[in-house]
């Protein structure tokens, strides 16, 4: 019941905010967004799931199944539940939305009730994506997410907002169609009568894929895998499907960027984890070298692109491409370290990249420019923001005791342990990406934050308001907490990853004790 209650509260909140006058919308939206946060925290405390949501062995937390449509051979149901992978993302969505709403108080001055209603509606859709276990239900939420983001970029965005909004919408919709077709081919070939994800997963993993329209089972699995990988890859985004991302980020208002980088990109990696890698591990294994190369190209190329940018927001946007490459690498490694590290990195990157975008947003609110060349030495004028920005950048580089470190170290461990051809070489190349990250972030910060003060802008650089820096401080604290005690999530993540692995053995234990014993 908890999931439905949180979903209903969020949706209701969106409607209330929509009807509220602009004057109160901002504060009201924040107050109402605390409800799902409280619900999420309570669920996290009560969380009692074991195993993976898509396997029959485990048990789910807060599971509900209600029939939705029963029609000939199609059975669609409202099936929601959380396991160790979805719970952290569920919680991340609630927390990040609340903070993003606070970060909107300064920049968003027009059509406020519509803005905050869309933010809450997006939260509702995101929570649905992470909780849904019926393909149809999941797809409905998945598409729901696009609509508020389309409007957020298109209405409140920067000068090229219309172009960016349409590009985002077209890219992700075509991707959805490709993915949908790929998945449907897989479902039709299994003969499963429902679209229940656990049932489909178990059938596919049990090898119940039969020839369909003259295609052999192997071909079907390959086609489905590739179609879904491309479909989700656009969302992640992986090179070469990343070109919508910088446009969307640069034009989007800060709170929308925070949500886009913090949670929306994770939908892609979460879906890759759930669909491609959980359902079709054998195809993933046979394609592993190619996927590994795709991952490393994303890491290196994304970082190189970030290195070439002058706009702070573009730098952070391209660095997301780079960081998401690590997640793909971890998934491709397909062992305990790789998978759990990738899942952890989703949450960690969600917090850190959200934080980075917020920092850039706060600087932009004051300076009205984001160009590296326009600003210099603003650390004295905006001490708290600058401090958090520096800390966040170190988190991005994977400084120990920050959330990014825990995710990346496991991904690299997993990559080194992986058995596919060239795994070690690819991992080593990917690790080199960190150096580039350090390069562009430190370089940008050195120029913008430190050195002699200079601001090529007509506006005064003044310290940000309390409500602007408060979410920054909260987020950096969360990043440190998660980096110091990764077991908050790591235990449940590994529990969910464990059933996916062929050699169900003591690996889970050893990783859990890596931090459990040491700290």
């Amino acid at each position: 019941m908890m999931i439905e209650a949180v979903l209903a509260a969020t949706l209701l909140g969106a409607l209330v905010v929509l009807a509220a006058p602009d004057k109160y919308a901002a504060k009201l939206a924040f107050a109402l967004s605390l409800l799902p946060v409280a619900g999420g925290l309570w669920m996290f405390a009560q969380f009692d799931a074991s195993g993976n949501a898509l396997f029959s062995s485990g048990s789910l937390a807060f599971e509900t199944t209600v029939d939705w449509i029963t029609l000939a051979q199609y059975q669609l149901s409202f099936h929601v539940g959380l396991d160790g992978v979805s719970m952290p993302l569920f919680l991340l969505s609630t927390v990040l939305t609340s903070l993003a709403i606070v970060s909107a108080w300064t920049p968003i001055q027009e059509r406020q009730s519509q803005f905050y209603a869309l933010m809450l509606f997006m939260e509702f859709s995101l929570l649905g994506v992470f909780a849904a276990l019926d393909f149809f239900l999941w797809f409905v939420f998945w598409e729901f997410v696009l609509v508020p983001m389309y409007f957020l970029i298109g209405i409140w965005g920067g000068p090229r907002r219309k172009y960016a909004a349409i590009k985002f919408f077209v890219y992700t919709n075509i991707a959805s169609l490709v993915m949908f077709i790929g998945f449907m081919i897989l479902v039709f070939s299994t003969g499963v009568t429902s679209l229940d994800l656990p049932a489909i997963t178990q059938a596919v993993r049990a090898g119940e894929v039969s020839a369909f329209y003259g295609l052999s089972p192997e071909t079907i699995k390959l086609v489905a895998f590739v179609a879904m990988f491309i479909g989700f890859g656009v969302k992640v985004p992986i090179v070469p499907f990343h070109t919508w991302l910088p446009d969307a980020h640069v034009e989007a208002p800060t709170p929308a960027s925070v949500m886009l980088a913090g949670v929306l990109l994770k939908m892609g990696t979460y879906a890759l984890f759930r669909f491609n890698f959980t359902m079709l591990p054998d195809v993933a294994a046979s394609l592993a070298p190619i996927l590994g190369i795709v991952a490393v190209v994303s890491v290196i190329y994304g970082a190189m692109l970030a290195l070439a940018q002058q706009d702070l927001k573009r730098i952070v946007a391209y660095s997301s491409v780079s960081s998401m490459g690590y997640v793909i690498l971890g998934l491709t490694a397909y062992n305990m370290y790789g998978l759990s590290g990738a899942s952890f990195q989703m949450v960690a990157h969600g917090l850190i990249s959200g934080l980075m975008f917020m920092c850039v947003g706060v600087i932009y609110n004051t300076a009205h420019t984001r160009m590296v060349g326009d600003l210099s030495g603003i650390a004295d004028k905006m001490p708290v923001t600058s401090a958090v920005f520096v800390a966040a950048a170190f988190g991005y580089m994977g400084l120990p005791l920050m959330a990014g470190f825990a995710g990346e170290v496991f991904i690299f461990l997993g990559g080194m342990q992986a058995t596919f051809a060239g795994a070690q070489l690819l991992t080593a190349l990917a690790m080199f990406g960190i150096v580039i990250v350090a390069g562009y972030l430190l370089f940008a910060m050195q120029r913008v934050l430190f050195g002699p003060f200079r601001a090529d802008t007509e506006y005064d650089i003044v310290p940000a308001a309390f409500h602007d820096v408060a979410p920054l401080v909260v987020l950096i604290l969360l990043v440190i907490v998660l980096g110091t005690v990764p077991n908050l999530f790591m235990g449940m993540l590994q529990d969910a990853v464990h059933p996916m692995l062929p050699e169900a053995g003591g690996a889970a234990h050893s990783v859990a004790s890596y931090f459990g014993g040491g700290l």
Binding site: W68, I69, L71, E143, K162, A165, F188
Partner: protein
């Protein structure tokens, strides 16, 4: 309690039309519009209610024939009278504001309900003769209604074009019927069916079937008889465009489903070389492609919707095209579902146009720029319609489209589903132009919206709410449609 006659929905429509004319004589001039609109809305809402009640009570598993088998009431006819009831209600409520200052109000509402009577008879007709008469009963009031704004050149021109093409296609249909009668000696559908297999005059029968298909194509605005649609929809008063593009199209399909499934059974006809499923497969592909590509190039929103309506006729035609496969119930049922959902979203979209015309906003995409700043609720509703028409899961349009395409795939027509899916993806381009215009663009002119017409707003919002709610409560619709299709096919 006395038992209601099976044809109650049709009777209610007819009686409503007569009552409207009667009230016109006695009603005071000042309150005439609200009184007439109220009666018409009550009558059509009653039709929808009774149809829904009959469907629920009988679970779609019955069939009553009336008047010597000339009319039949079964799950499918009730499903369609439900659609007509709903669409007519929305149209009448929307018209309340739209035609307020026009002359001949009683005639307007009476013609709408008379056309609805004709449509509901089309859905029930079980004989080629009744089919033709009821089709004319639906068509003739429509011609007049399209030309209702008789001081408006566009409206009159549209009415004339609609009438000329309508007259031509009626002639084709009636000639086709005569050829079918010549070869089979029967008009009742089931008797025609029993005669077709043994006929020596295969060529004559084939031409007859082709001509009947042509008559149906006119009514459903399918290629090659779709040319009237953009003209008529653009020129007609917007509520009438909504009425014709939703209800009249559904009526055409209701008739087509029954004639082709019952009177021209595919097994018997394809064994003698008259494979109409192939014909409809080709028509479906051409219709959806023509409709979508033409819609993508329009600058006028109403015209874009007109072509999109042609495109949707193409999707629904899949229901007939895929009948030669092995998932007949599902694919035919899915066509019916799509028509019901389409009834809400397309009617709503045209009523939004009616709202814009009522405010004096122009007709092109540019004229709609920034409308959301002044009318956010109506624009939100329009956004729902556009995304649902495009097949995004914002409304039930996604589900009905999905079942239609999935039905085609299970029937073995994956290429038909593929063409439809590509078309559907393309359609997002032009539907989202409206969304972009109203929400993203800055207003180009400086008009202000000074009032909110209650009736139009109520109709638009009701249609939007229904479109969204159907997404969650789709099970009864889907089950009823598939049961009705199954009953028809046995």
């Amino acid at each position: 309690m006395a038992e209601l006659p099976a044809l109650t929905p049709q009777y209610i429509f007819a009686v409503t039309a007569l009552v409207l004319l009667l009230v016109d004589i006695v009603a005071p001039e000042s309150r005439k519009n609200s009184l007439l609109a109220g009666i018409a809305a009550t009558g059509s809402l009653l039709v929808a209610g009774v149809s829904a009640w009959f469907l629920a009570a009988g679970s779609g598993q019955y069939s009553f024939t009336q008047f010597g088998d000339a009319l039949v009431v079964d799950g499918m006819s009730l499903f369609f009278t439900l659609v007509f009831g709903v669409v007519t209600t929305l149209v009448v409520v929307g018209s309340y504001d739209y035609v307020r200052d026009e002359p001949y109000l009683a005639e307007y509402y009476a013609l709408v309900t008379l056309a609805a009577t004709g449509m509901s008879l089309m859905a029930s007709s079980n004989s080629l003769g009744v089919a033709f008469v009821s089709l004319e009963l639906a068509s003739l009031p429509s011609y007049v209604l399209v030309a209702y704004l008789k001081k408006n050149k566009g409206s009159v021109e549209a009415g004339l074009k609609y009438f000329l093409i309508g007259a031509l296609s009626s002639a084709i249909l009636v000639y086709g019927i005569s050829l079918v009668y010549a070869t089979t000696g029967a008009l009742i559908f089931s008797e025609v069916a029993s005669q077709v297999a043994g006929t020596p005059l295969v060529g004559v029968l084939g031409i007859g079937v082709l001509m009947v298909a042509g008559g149906v194509a006119f009514k459903t605005a399918s290629v090659p008889f779709h040319f009237w649609a953009p003209e008529a929809y653009e020129g007609a008063p917007a509520p009438i465009s909504a009425f014709i593009s939703s209800a009249s199209k559904a009526a055409g399909f209701a008739l087509a489903f029954r004639i082709f499934v019952v009177a021209f059974p595919l097994d018997a006809l394809s064994s003698i070389g008259v494979d109409w499923a192939m014909l409809f497969a080709v028509l479906a592909v051409v219709t959806m492609t023509v409709g979508n590509f033409a819609a993508a190039t329009q600058e006028n929103v109403k015209r874009m919707l007109a072509y999109s309506s042609v495109g949707h006729a193409g999707y629904v035609l899949i229901g007939l095209a895929a009948l030669s496969g092995d998932a007949d119930n599902l694919v035919l049922g899915a066509s019916m579902m799509h028509l019901l959902v389409y009834g809400f979203m397309n009617t709503g979209a045209f009523l939004f146009i009616a709202l814009a015309e009522h405010w004096g906003v122009g007709r092109t995409f540019e004229d709609y720029n920034g409308l959301a700043k002044q009318a956010p609720v109506a624009c939100l509703a329009m956004t729902v319609f556009m995304f649902s028409l495009a097949g995004l899961p914002i409304g039930a349009g996604f589900l009905s489209k999905y079942f239609l395409f999935a039905g085609a795939v299970s029937a073995g027509f994956w290429w038909l589903a593929a063409v439809a899916a590509v078309n559907s993806a393309l359609s997002l381009f032009y539907y989202s132009r409206v969304v972009k215009a109203v929400w993203f663009e800055d207003p180009s002119g400086d008009f202000t919206i000074d009032h909110t017409p209650t009736g139009l707003y109520a109709a638009v919002v009701a249609a939007a709410v229904a479109t969204v709610l159907l997404l969650f409560a789709f099970d009864p619709v889907a089950t009823t449609a598939v049961d009705a299709a199954a009953a028809l096919l046995t």
